[in-house]
């Protein structure tokens, strides 16, 4: 079973309309690299000079990766990786 990456609505124009993209990889970074290989236009939306953009949050199974090991956070088959815009609340 692969890793399932959940794509927010505004980015789906870069994933042929797919809400979920399945990839394989052993870390968040590797999974997002694999996503970028499938859909190259998405990489520059997510990263700025190799860093995740300031107003994007990434979650592995609903846990914010900043409280785990950031991009080095390990992932395994069956994990859910969510890309969520950070400008909300307050």
């Amino acid at each position: 079973m692969p890793i399932r990456i959940h794509i927010p609505t505004p980015l789906r124009q870069h994933t042929d309309g797919q809400a979920v993209v399945e990839v394989s990889g052993t870390s968040v970074q590797a999974a997002l690299d694999a996503l970028g290989q499938k859909y190259p236009a998405i990489t520059q939306r997510l990263f700025d000079n190799g860093q995740v953009r300031r107003f994007i949050n990434l979650y592995v199974n609903d846990e914010d990766i900043r409280y785990l090991d950031n991009l080095a956070t390990p992932v395994k088959d069956g994990d859910e990786l969510s890309i969520i815009p950070a400008v909300a609340g307050g």
Binding site: P8, T9, P10, L11, R45, D48, R53, R54, F55, I56, N57, Y59, D62, D64, R66, Y67, S82, I84, P85, A86, V87, A88, G89, G90
Partner: protein, 419 residues
């Protein structure tokens, strides 16, 4: 005259323009969108006298608020008192102090009525019939009440461990209140997913650019109530970090359209030590905050560990020459008591945070004792009574007899104790 001076939404990072739509972030870089106004056109039509002729509520500044046509929600919001707080000033050892008192805002006793009236007026313009929010309490109360009055269906998402009175204060209006076992940030993340999935009008998600503008009315009122000028220092509580940016923005807009001479004012942010991502960043000189995973403070309305506007709050404080501080739960409760006993204002825990931080900044010498200070009280103490329960004396019980009272009054003259 145009009914709106809004040109569209603009990304705060890359400047890309968007039409007026329920969208809170740039699809290029995820930066926050902000309402973009035609200030030249506003300057042509707006004057002090025109504003002064209008009713005393937030809509007297309507040209600088992002609605099309008449407000349809919250027509009576705002117009709260700015109080010259001489007794509190004396207690803090300063000369000129005012309290902007949104603890008596209408209808739900917090500054959130300002943002919600804009957000729900926009929700109606956009045709939403269901609205919602992620809330630490006050926002939920305001969305629930204003949605009820507007005939909108409302979903309120809160951390499940909120104060009872803040939960009841949403349920009473018939809103569907969803308690989520987790922190505010987890509630917020869930709501972002819900907003995408169900297409509801979430006031602080897809309606956020409009919503946040409502906070400016607190700043407009402060300037007008001071006689069309700004104070030298303003102290603002911080949760998501939005209000602390909107007060100076309000001053700058008033200057831009020629209603005040200048907008020079130092901005200070107040947080609780149990959840102080922004004040910690400011004190350490960081460019932005580091999120706090498990906030732990009695100031639950400020308990946002990962503030959406943390980066901008740090910047606005730094650029203004201000500072930020944070205070313990005990200092918060004591400051609530102090405000009550000096000014007769019962503020919620966030107000205790603001008063206690003001005292700290004065004692540190960061705010000079002889300059003008305005502190922003954003919520009402009746909603957070547990925070001061241990700090006030229980009533004395007597029989209905003059003798018993006389014994009490003459015997042990009870001076109110300032804790």
């Amino acid at each position: 005259m145009p009914t709106s001076f809004v040109r569209g939404l603009k990304c705060r990072l890359c400047g890309k323009m968007y039409p007026k739509e329920p969208l809170n972030f740039c699809t290029e870089d995820f930066g926050p969108l902000e309402v973009d106004y035609d200030y030249e056109a506003i300057a042509e039509v707006l004057s002090r006298s025109k504003i002064e002729m209008r009713p005393e509520n937030m809509w007297r500044y309507r040209e600088l608020l992002p609605i099309d046509g008449e407000p349809t929600v919250g027509a009576q919001v705002g117009g709260t008192p700015l109080i010259k707080a001489d007794r509190l000033a004396e207690a803090l050892g300063v000369e000129k102090l005012w309290v902007k008192n949104d603890a008596v805002n209408f209808p739900t006793l917090s500054f959130k009525d300002r943002v919600v009236s804009v957000a729900l007026s926009k929700a109606r313009e956009f045709g939403f019939s269901t609205v919602g929010c992620a809330s630490t309490g006050n926002l939920g109360n305001s969305v629930a009440a204003n949605a009820a009055a507007a005939g909108l269906e409302a979903y309120i998402f809160i951390p499940a461990d909120l104060e009872r009175s803040k939960i009841l204060g949403s349920s009473i209006y018939g809103a569907k209140v969803v308690g989520v076992t987790g922190t505010y940030d987890e509630v917020n993340r869930l709501c972002t997913q819900v907003a995408f999935k169900y297409g509801w009008g979430f006031v602080n998600i897809n309606l956020r650019p409009f919503y946040a503008e409502g906070s400016k009315s607190m700043g407009f009122e402060i300037a007008e109530q001071l006689g069309w000028r700004v104070p030298q220092h303003v102290v603002v509580p911080m949760a998501g970090g939005s209000l602390v940016g909107k007060i100076p923005k309000a001053f700058q807009e008033l200057a831009k359209v020629g209603l005040i001479e200048h907008a020079r004012c130092r901005i200070y942010g107040a947080q609780a030590s149990g959840c102080s991502p922004i004040s910690t960043a400011v004190k350490n000189g960081w460019e932005t905050h580091r999120p706090v995973r498990r906030p732990n403070t009695i100031a639950k309305s400020l308990a946002i560990g990962d503030p959406a506007d943390g980066y901008f709050a740090c910047k606005v404080i730094r650029d203004s020459g201000g500072w930020a501080e944070d205070v313990s739960d005990q200092e918060i409760s004591e400051a609530m008591v102090l405000l009550g006993r000096t000014e007769g204002i019962f503020a919620e825990t966030a107000g205790g945070v603001t008063v206690a931080v003001t005292r700290k900044l004065i004692e540190q010498g960061r705010i000079p004792r002889d300059e003008e200070i305005v502190i922003c009280i954003t919520g009402n103490g009746l909603k957070t009574q547990d925070a001061v329960a241990e700090y006030v004396e229980a009533p004395v019980i007597i029989k209905p007899s003059l003798e018993e009272l006389a014994a009490l009054v003459d015997g042990a003259a009870r001076e109110p104790v300032l804790v």
